[in-house]
Structure formats: C-alpha cells, structure tokens
C-alpha cells in the first residue's frame, strides 16, 4: 500500500504519528512525503519495515532512532541525520550536514553527496558509506561499525577512536589522536566490497582505499589495567 503525505498541509507531528501507527507491526507500506521544506524530525522513531521517500531537503535529525525502516531523502539533510539509528537503511541522495549517523548502533547510512563535520561521531555499530567527502572530526570516539568514504576526509579523522574501522579512498587531512593507518588485508577488502555493494556503489575499486583504526594506546580498557579495578 502506498501513502502520500504533504507537509505543506499537515505538520511533522501528524506525519510521525501516522508513521508510528505501524511501529511494531509487520507492515511494509510505502510512504511518499512531499514539501519537507527543511523541517526537523521528519520520519524519526520508526520501528517497522516501512519504505519512506522524502521528496526534498530536510532539517535536523531526519530518520533519527530508525529501526528496520528504509528512509530515502531526495535532497540534502540537516544536522544529525540518522542519529542513533538502530537498524534499517537511510539514504540521502544529496549531502548531509554535521554529525550524520552520530551514536548510531546499527543499520546502514548512505550519503550520496558529502557529509560535513563529525560524521559518525561516537558511532556504535552503524555502517556509514559516503560517496563524496567528509568534514573534520569524523568518527570521533567511534566505538564500532564501519565508515567508508569514497572521497576525502577532513582534519582529525578518528580522534580517540575505539574499535570502528575506517576506509578512505581519497586524502586524509590529518588523523586524530590514537588513530593510525592499518594494513588492508583480504578480509578488509571483502568487507569493504560488500559495504560498497550494499550502498549500490559499483564504480569504485576497493583496492583504492586505505584502512584506519585505533592504535589502542589511548583508551584505558587494557588488560594491563585489569588489576586497577
């Protein structure tokens, strides 16, 4: 079943209430949302396998806390897109503003344009694939999950990183504290190829990427410290 919702006629609260009505069910309806005009909180808190398409630019926190749903934005997304996502797929056809995918635990976030500063900050298991470039302080304190960047990365990539894996095809302006380049092994190339395929990117060679991750010198969950507790 396909629904159409016009945000010029009804507000975001009404939209989210209508979408939430399907939460926890097995419904997989398609929703077309028109006239988003940069509004905040479009399609947040979904918890079922809806297929939501937003036709235009959105503001803050679009598809935040998403579970299972597939949300596609035919435009740009403001700050905090897919923040704290748990599962599902969020795809931004344009660019995303700062802290896209922040603290997200799972699912896949695809940004077809660029992502600005702090992309994947404190990511906790989400996979993020950016077709363009990302801004500074991305993957800050990233705990787990994978971040794939087909373009360049800004300054202080992966500062204070834990166990997330970062793959960057272009130039990295600088690495943050305790983030180092690591060898690309076959298992990493396979993982990267799968992520690119999941994101629908088929014209980029996994061999062109470099891998970055934690030197494990900064954070204090070392076995050497076990006696301190």
């Amino acid at each position: 079943m396909t629904h159409r919702f016009d945000l010029a006629e009804q507000g975001v609260r009404e939209l989210n209430r209508a979408l939430h009505a399907a939460n926890g069910t097995a419904r997989a309806d398609a929703w077309h949302i028109v006239n988003p005009r940069g509004l905040h909180n479009v399609a947040v808190g979904l918890d079922c396998a809806l297929d939501v398409t937003v036709e235009g630019h959105v503001g803050y926190y679009c598809a935040g806390m998403n579970q299972r749903a597939r949300v596609t934005v035919l435009g740009n997304a403001g700050p905090g897109c897919a923040e704290n996502m748990m599962s599902g797929l969020v795809r931004v056809k344009g660019s995303a503003s700062q802290y896209a995918g922040a603290t997200a635990h799972g699912g896949l976030l695809v940004i077809e344009g660029d992502a600005s500063a702090r992309c994947g900050i404190s990511m906790k298991g989400v996979d993020i694939v950016v077709r363009g470039s990302i801004g500074h302080m991305s993957a800050f304190m990233a705990q787990s999950g994978r971040l794939v960047v087909c373009g360049d990365a800004g300054e202080a990539l992966g500062d204070s990183i834990y166990e997330a894996r970062l793959y960057v095809r272009g130039a990295v302006a600088s690495l943050g504290a305790d983030c180092i380049e690591k060898p690309m092994k076959d298992k990493h190339r396979e993982e990267l190829a799968q992520l690119l395929a999941d994101a629908g990117i088929d014209d980029v060679d996994p061999d062109d990427f470099r891998r970055y991750g934690s030197a494990r010198q900064l954070y204090n969950f070392k076995v050497d410290n076990a006696d301190a507790y």
């Binding site: 005009r37 630019h57 503001g59 740009n76 660019s95 500063a117 801004g135």
Partner: protein, 297 residues
C-alpha cells in the same frame, strides 16, 4: 542558539520584493531566537556626501524636541524619518560630528548605524512583531541581514540585540558565543573602540570596526578574526555592496547558503530558505569551516 538570515538581490525586480521574502526568512528563524530580533537593510543609497544615521530612542523620547535641537546645531539636515522608536537622519554634515553630538547631547539614544545605504531596526520580542512593527514586507532594498536572538551571554534588551554596527555601512550578526570577549573588550576599549553593552557579539563587531579602521579589507579583517576570536560563531557581515559569511574552524554553529539567478541567501537553517522563489532548484551548500564567502553588487 540564535538564527541568522541574509538575502541579497541580484536583479532590480527582486530588490522590489526583498522585504517580502526577507520577512518570511526572519519569521522562520523564530524557534532559534524568540527573545529579540533585528535587521539591517540597505536601500535608497544616498549620493556621495550624504549620510544616513539610524537612532533608537527609549519610550517617551521626544523626537520633535530632538529634531529642533539637531537642526539648530547642524545646517545640513535633509530629513528625519520617524519609525516609532527609531529615526533615520539624512544629512550632508560630517558623520563623526553628528555622531559625537548625539552621544554627548542625547546619551539616551542608541546610534544603530551610519552610512550611505544602511538602516538598522531592532527590538525585543518575536520576529513577527518586528516584521509587523516596521512593515518589513513592504520594504525594497538591495540586501538585508537579520538576526533572531536567544540570549545566552547577556541580558535581553534592545541594546544587546543584533545587528551591531561595525563602521559606515557595516554591521555584524552572530550566532554563537565568544569565550575571550572580556579581555578583548578591554584591549579594544584601550584602542578607542566604543562599547555600549557587555555583549560578546558587540566585541566581535568592535574587533572588526578596529581592524577596518586600521586599514584592513573586510576579508583581511575576517581572516584575522579567525586567529583572534576564541569561541563559536557563524558571522554574517553586511557591507554597502553585499555581505560576507564566516564560520569558525570548529563549525558547530550551522549555516546554509543558496544561490539562484535572482538572489543569494544565507540562513542558519535551510527551512528559512525553502520559501524563496526557485529554492528547490537553487544551488545549495553548507559553507566550509574557516572560509570567507562574500557577495557584492
């Protein structure tokens, strides 16, 4: 949190609609700053040798008395246009003389702006109230720059609200907070910069005033600001010919720019631009941290 909106007309037809579109942008930024609002509009540019000065008076101020004293003292007063609490003087007299006289003889007046084209209007309360009060939707002009304030660092008064004048035909609006404003204010005061409030954004304006008076171009002054101002900011600076936008290198404070064939606009959020004609097709991007963007007529 605060909101910023700037709109720059690229065609004479759009200049005629500037106020209509700009008012909608400012009102859309209400959620980001509901306690005060203000704007600078560049319009009716005076020929060389004439100056416009915008003044703000406290309630109960007698404008007729003021005009009488003004005309008795200065020979070149061409007009005094009243807009409730605000008045715009047009004169052929030398601006520093006029400003010095107003400061000395009417210390209760705030001098909001001076220049050939700039006028500044601001008040406490919702942006919609400001728009209605000064009939912004009817205004034409080449460009306008506005601010909706949610005070964090200092009091909610009209004197603390934006834009702040930074020199002839120059003004500043700021979203963010500065951390080294006390020290910087004392340094600038020693260099002769005049401050009316304890507001951090006024210090940024004073800093630019000092640099521009020292001979820097606007771009040079903003480059230096990146080194000397500590804190979070998205600045928009209005000039006689256009405006400039700068975000601090950390870039926590948002900004979006869009450009069509007939206008250039910037705002804290895209939703303030979404109502502009052709917004969906306009080239839209987020200004990069620490980079200066500017437009001129």
């Amino acid at each position: 949190m605060c909101g910023i909106a700037g709109l720059f007309a690229k065609t004479p037809e759009f200049e005629a609609e500037l106020g209509h579109h700009f008012a909608a942008m400012l009102v859309e930024m209400t959620d980001r700053g509901p306690d005060s609002a203000g704007f600078a509009i560049y319009r009716d540019a005076r020929p060389f040798g004439q100056i416009k000065i915008t003044l703000l008076a406290p309630p109960g101020f007698s404008w007729p008395d003021f005009e009488h004293r003004l005309r008795a003292r200065f020979a070149g007063i061409l007009g005094l246009e009243l807009h409730d609490t605000h008045a715009v003087i047009v004169a052929t007299d030398w601006a520093p003389d006029l400003i010095g006289w107003v400061r000395e003889c009417c210390p209760e007046l705030h001098i909001l702006s001076s220049g050939g084209a700039i006028e500044i209007y601001k008040q406490t309360g919702l942006p919609a109230k400001l728009v209605e009060h000064f009939r912004v939707t009817d205004m034409h002009g080449s460009h306008a720059l506005g601010h909706t304030r949610m005070a964090t660092e200092s009091a909610v008064t009209v004197a603390h609200s934006h834009p702040f004048s930074t020199g002839e035909d120059l003004c500043l609006v700021h979203n963010g907070s500065l951390s080294n404003h006390n020290r910087l204010r004392a340094d600038l005061a020693r260099r002769g910069v005049h401050f009316s409030t304890d507001n951090d954004s006024e210090v940024a304006a004073g800093y630019l005033t000092w640099r521009l008076a020292s001979g820097d171009s606007l771009e040079q002054a903003l480059e230096r600001a990146i080194a000397d101002l500590d804190g979070f900011y998205t600045f928009a600076v209005g000039t006689r010919e256009g405006f400039a936008v700068l975000r601090d290198p950390i870039a926590c404070k948002p900004a979006v720019i869009a450009e069509s064939d007939t206008w250039v606009a910037m705002a804290s959020e895209y939703r303030a631009l979404a109502h502009l004609p052709g917004a969906a097709e306009a080239r839209t991007w987020e200004p990069a941290p620490g980079r200066i963007y500017s437009w001129k007529h």
